[in-house]
């Protein structure tokens, strides 16, 4: 799931201030907390109210898209509306915002959210946690299934550092677990401290450099061909 946080209404309003007809798009994909049709509708109402306080009239429509990051789904969902609106506000993660800008490139799509991380709901708690940083060099096989890249504030490959106290991390004021103590406990439980003792070489950051590209089969996406045709 992509963990997101909605921006302040005033911030979103600033983005769409020059426009009077906007389309608000929820996303039914992996965005957490959910940002679907009801959230899109509420955002529309709030923006309309905000516009009214400034003496402006704002026309809006709320829709939701199955997955904004899927080029074909995004394109077929948004294109019927493009000609009737001046701008789009997306309630997806950053991927959805970029995708709508690409598949509906007649108008601008603005982000209503800040995208924080790929994560899951923290077991038994009302919070989300990042378990994987998609670093492109998976260490989980040697760390008992606990990721030190996402879980350690210093991304250490050979932890723990001196900032751990009673299994808690110095970052966050000793409230969050030290990933390396968790790794130690897991490996000890399975009698695999041999893995803990192994020295791990420095990471190859080419796998995690931005912007990231990965070549995929040509028939997986039609964006490239479309562009070529247009050209």
């Amino acid at each position: 799931m992509i963990i997101t946080k909605q921006k302040e209404i005033s911030g979103i309003y600033e983005m769409i201030k020059p426009y009077s007809k906007i389309l608000i798009t929820g996303c039914d994909g992996c965005c957490q907390p959910p940002r679907s049709i009801s959230e899109a509708t509420v955002l529309g109402q709030l923006l309309e109210l905000k516009a009214k306080t400034e003496g402006k009239e704002l026309k809006w429509k709320a829709i939701t898209i199955l997955r904004q990051c899927d080029d074909r789904i995004a394109a077929t969902s948004i294109r019927p509306f493009v000609d009737d609106f001046e701008a789009v506000v997306s309630l997806a993660c950053g991927l959805g915002v970029v995708m709508l800008n690409k598949v509906a490139d007649k108008i601008l799509t603005f982000p209503a959210q800040d995208s924080h991380f790929g994560g899951v709901q923290n077991l038994g708690e009302n919070s989300f946690i990042q378990y994987c940083e998609t670093c492109g060099n998976c260490l989980l096989a040697v760390t008992g299934g606990v990721c030190p890249i996402a879980g350690c504030a210093k991304h250490l490959n050979n932890g723990p550092c001196g900032g751990t106290v009673d299994g808690l991390c110095e970052v966050g004021g000793y409230t969050r677990p030290c990933a390396w103590i968790d790794i130690y406990k897991r490996l000890k439980k399975f009698n695999r401290l041999d893995l803990f003792s192994v020295y791990r070489l420095a990471r190859d950051y080419r796998t995690a450099t931005s912007p990231a590209y990965m070549t995929i089969n040509k028939d997986y996406t039609n964006i490239k061909e479309e562009k070529e045709e247009k050209a």
């Binding site: 751990t164 420095a202 990471r203």
Partner: protein
């Protein structure tokens, strides 16, 4: 691999069998004037004839301070006492670390203390992005490659000369109970990467310290036990509350507080009372460590507290003289 020669005076003194002492200098947000004070501290350390080297810290607590390389050089030049150049991997990637070590080698620095470094989230520039490109163990590997093989991390050769340096890592004696084993195993990885010495975080409990030193003895690497005499109650309180994993014994805190309270308004008497508290606590501590543990020395983190060295260490031989 054959054992690396002792290039630094610190390692030579340990090798010669001396029970060594080192001090600590903390360059903060300073320019020339502050630098003079740091050098003055270093000169006072040298005067004791018992401190073989002075650590120069690298942005402790994640704060933005003067770099550690230049003060290390100036201390060696002007105070003529060897520096233990602390280098944290928090602020520099492998490219910058390599470049800095080459620069430090040309400046004649002989000891590096490898640190991960407190996270920038704890420091005074909380919005900073920390580097942590390589971790402290990997920095040890980089130093091994530079010193023993004459290359950078990627194996590209250093074109002229040989780097003659020794490097050490830190360990935390306050990792007790279930948390000691991961700490000891972690040090083991650094031993594998060729460290010449280990310097510990500060210890206040003699039994905990001795137990930790005993565990470390399996690696057969010299260990300097960290001690932290506190020149005021305020520093002790800060240390107790803000330094990871360190808790100052309640009795010691109370004694420092009383020493300050009873001598309010009378500076010399206050200093004497504070020094007395520190000497009474640390003198027997050092004696016990020297006589009944495998430690090779004491790292005395008495920053800007040079006047304590004489009463604290006065009874030990002036071994450092022959190395200066």
């Amino acid at each position: 691999m054959a054992k690396r020669p002792a290039y630094s005076k610190l390692c030579k003194a340990i090798e010669a069998g001396h029970f060594v002492f080192t001090g600590e200098l903390e360059p903060k947000k300073i320019l020339e004037e502050g630098m003079e004070e740091v050098i003055h501290s270093a000169k006072e350390m040298k005067k004791t004839n018992r401190l073989i080297a002075a650590n120069v810290t690298d942005g402790p607590q994640g704060d933005a301070y003067m770099c550690s390389m230049v003060p290390s050089y100036l201390v060696q030049q002007k105070a003529e006492i060897e520096a233990v150049w602390q280098v944290a991997v928090r602020d520099r990637n492998r490219v910058a670390l390599f470049g800095d070590v080459l620069g430090g080698a040309v400046l004649g620095l002989k000891n590096i203390l490898v640190l991960t470094g407190d996270h920038t989230a704890l420091g005074d520039n909380k919005r900073a992005r920390p580097a942590y490109d390589i971790d402290s163990t990997q920095f040890c590997e980089l130093l091994k490659k530079m010193i023993d093989e004459g290359t950078d991390y990627a194996g590209k050769e250093i074109t002229d000369g040989k780097i003659e340096m020794n490097y050490g890592c830190v360990a935390n004696p306050n990792a007790v109970g279930d948390y000691m084993e991961p700490e000891i195993l972690k040090v083991g990885r650094k031993v594998e990467q060729g460290i010449d010495f280990i310097q510990t975080q500060t210890a206040f409990d003699i039994d905990v310290a001795k137990n930790f030193l005993n565990e470390l003895s399996r690696y057969k690497v010299p260990v300097l036990l960290g001690l932290f005499p506190m020149k005021s109650y305020g520093i002790a309180w800060y240390f107790d509350n803000y330094i990871p994993g360190v808790s100052v014994p309640k009795d010691l805190l109370k004694a420092l507080k009383t020493a300050e309270k009873e001598n309010k308004g009378n500076k010399p008497a206050k200093y004497a009372a504070l020094d007395k508290v520190n000497v009474e606590f640390f003198k027997p501590f050092i004696k016990e460590i020297k006589e009944n543990s495998k430690a090779s020395g004491i790292h005395c983190m008495a920053v800007e507290y040079e006047r304590l060295f004489q009463p604290l260490l006065g009874e030990y031989p002036e071994y450092a003289k022959e190395f200066y």
